[in-house]
């Protein structure tokens, strides 16, 4: 006996109206504080948007536990807000984000910076899969490790170049089908990188890997080239920012730029603009 089940929507069915939940917000000047405990993601994002509309420049959200799309519904060209998250934000943090700044005091999940356009995301912990997927601009800093398909199909155009900095290591398919952007993997724990199929299908952008990595780990569209002055300069700038964000917050206070820059860097670029030319017969 097949019961005719009703259509239920877990995204919307439990979301209360703004009036019912506005007590979770505490406004002091230009700083808003939200207690996210028990809020669905729609409710939380409703409140965050409300705060920005009311002029908040900084929003502190506590007790975050799995709410998705934080930072997505904030398309206010010209406005810039900083969101501080305590807890674990859900998938797609900062997806489509357009120019704000998010700091996570904890781990993040999948899809951090997904198709992000502008802005900055800083995660004091690890992140999951498809970090910086299709990212088109802005910067993402992850203190520890990331998962699969990081920076997949990242893009750039002229001066609009997205950047991803990862303090630990990544898993397979890093930079898959990358068309632009800069990815920096610092490998600070010192272990050999275990990722396979790095840069498979890459046809733009650049990946810098600090630490031990073997040629068999790279996809066939990728080639190793020498690091130049310009590269070291670029990397050092990013390392300085990394230390600024994470020193004392899980990264050794005493860690210096020079120590990191002294490691071995491998620079990966695509070897062809048209890697699939020989696959098709006309």
């Amino acid at each position: 006996m097949i019961a005719l089940a009703r259509l239920r929507d877990p995204f919307m069915d439990w979301a209360r109206k703004i009036d019912e939940i506005v007590d979770a917000v505490n406004f002091e000047g230009r700083i808003a504080k939200i207690d996210a405990r028990g809020l669905t993601h729609k409710e939380l994002n409703d409140l965050i948007r409300l705060c920005v509309e009311k002029g908040a420049e900084k929003i502190i959200v506590k007790n975050v536990c799995g709410q998705r799309y934080i930072g997505t519904r904030l398309y206010f060209p010209g406005k810039k807000v900083e969101i501080e998250i305590f807890g674990v934000p859900g998938n797609d943090l900062g997806m489509f984000m357009n120019g704000h700044r998010i700091i996570v005091h904890g781990n993040a999940q999948d899809g951090v910076g997904n198709t992000m356009n502008e802005g900055e995301i800083v995660v004091e912990g690890r992140a999951g899969d498809v970090v910086a997927m299709s990212m088109r601009g802005g910067r993402v800093f992850i203190r520890d490790d990331v998962g699969y398909r990081t920076a997949i199909h990242m893009k750039e155009y002229r001066e609009k170049v997205p950047v991803l900095v990862v303090g630990g290591t990544s898993q397979d398919f890093l930079g898959e089908y990358m068309a632009g952007g800069v990815v920096l993997l610092l490998g600070l724990k010192g272990e050999k990188h275990k990722a396979n199929y790095i840069g498979t299908g890459m046809h733009g952008g650049v990946i810098y890997i600090r630490g031990k990595v073997e040629p068999y780990q790279f996809g066939k569209e990728v080639g190793i080239v020498e690091m130049e002055e310009e590269d070291y300069r670029k990397v050092e700038e990013l390392v300085k920012d990394y230390l600024k964000y994470f020193r004392g917050k899980g990264i050794d206070e005493k860690l210096e730029v020079d120590e990191i820059m002294g490691g071995k860097f491998t620079k990966l670029v695509p070897v062809s603009k048209r890697p699939y030319g020989r696959i098709y017969a006309y």
Partner: protein, 375 residues
């Protein structure tokens, strides 16, 4: 010889779903109630669509722990049907106790079937005397599921049970009163987003054969290959869901063929050939042989599964990690989840959080050697 019944002449419809999974185990064997796992599943509510939820619990029937606890669902409200099943069970088993599984009528679920549980011991006759108790139970369960319409044995292990149906997991938990009625040392749960048979109670996860349970997030694109191989070994897929093949494959490989989970994980999610070709001679030969012999049990397509049986809880993803998994540890507690937030929701401070590479299992085992369940 098992009666080789051809199920719908081999052309079986397959379910498709996307979902959430969660598992928690106390490795000291301490039994706890369902509050934690229900909260965790609530946190991941958006991953399901309310048309399926289920739980597997281990250690729940201490009074009858040496008997097979058969959970049966009767789709039709038909006294003849129940009688047929009762008679079959009494003919083939020593039924020491049976009763309706207690349910909460107020729970927010639609059209539940009748649920009954039987505590049984095999009563073998003739040719069947050659079978082990476990094989005998499998044979009889397969018979009911293939030959008696509208009756399904969906749990058949000792001192454990599966509870599942149509609704969000917390609603199913409410229906079966999991929080108040049961305590176990391993709990696994599943929330479902089905597309094919949206209202069928039998289609929810976990899937169970003997004390093996599987909850699964993903879709098995090699289902046809896996199913036809398992049919050759006497396992018939009758619950129209691809997850069944994992439950039967685990029973075949781990119970019958005695392979450890580390090897079985490599059968389901083996390394790629280009990695194997780079290994040292011994390892290369091992993996090549494994892939060659067990090719029909390679599980292709995205999956995260949590497999459990007495003493072990295992989390595993497909070899190119198309579905997420996160593991967390605090003391003796081991958590495996589709999302980290769900673990944090019930255990905010963790000793360790990690995500393994695709195809690498997360294994939780009881600390004690004899696998005793402690109160």
């Amino acid at each position: 010889m098992i009666n080789r019944v051809s199920v719908t002449d081999g052309r079986v419809t397959k379910e498709i779903q996307a979902c959430a999974v969660f598992g928690v185990m106390d490795r000291s064997g301490r039994r706890f109630d369902g509050k934690m796992i229900i909260e965790a599943m609530k946190n991941m509510r958006v991953r399901g669509n309310g048309l399926g939820g289920g739980f597997a619990v281990y250690g729940i029937y201490p009074k009858y722990k040496d008997y097979y606890a058969l959970h049966v669902m009767f789709q039709e409200d038909d006294p003849d049907l129940k009688q047929e099943v009762d008679e079959f069970l009494h003919r083939n088993f020593d039924v020491v106790h049976d009763e309706e599984i207690p349910t909460n009528e107020e729970a927010n679920v639609s059209d539940p079937p009748l649920f009954w549980r039987y505590f049984v011991m095999p009563q073998k006759k003739g040719e069947d005397k050659k079978l082990s108790d476990d094989d005998y139970v499998v044979k009889k369960v397969m018979y009911i599921n293939t030959c008696i319409d509208n009756a399904y044995v969906f749990s058949s292990g000792k001192n454990m049970g599966v509870f599942k149906g149509v609704g969000f997991p917390e609603e199913i938990a409410d229906f079966f009163m999991l929080e108040s009625e049961y305590k176990g040392y391993i709990w696994t749960a599943h929330s479902r987003f089905p597309t094919n048979t949206p209202g069928w109670w039998g289609g929810a996860h976990p899937f169970c054969i003997l004390d093996w349970t599987v909850v699964h997030n993903g879709e098995i694109s090699s289902y046809g290959t896996n199913r036809r191989f398992l049919e050759m070994h006497g396992y018939y897929c009758t619950l129209y869901t691809d997850t069944e093949v994992i439950a039967y494959a685990v029973d075949l490989l781990m119970r019958k063929q005695g392979l450890p989970i580390e090897v079985v994980a490599k059968i389901f999610a083996p390394p790629m050939w280009d990695q194997i070709d780079r290994m040292d001679e011994k390892k290369r030969k091992f993996y090549t042989t494994l892939r060659m012999v067990y090719a029909p049990l390679l599980i292709n397509g995205p999956f995260t599964v949590i497999i459990a049986h007495h003493g072990e809880m295992i989390g595993l993803t497909d070899r190119i990690r198309l579905r997420p998994i996160t593991a967390g540890e605090k003391g003796d507690m081991l958590f495996v989840s589709s999302e980290e937030a769900a673990i944090r929701a019930v255990c905010p401070n963790l000793d360790r959080v990690w995500t393994p590479h695709g195809g690498e299992p997360i294994i939780g085992r009881l600390n004690s050697v004899e696998k005793r369940v402690v109160e």
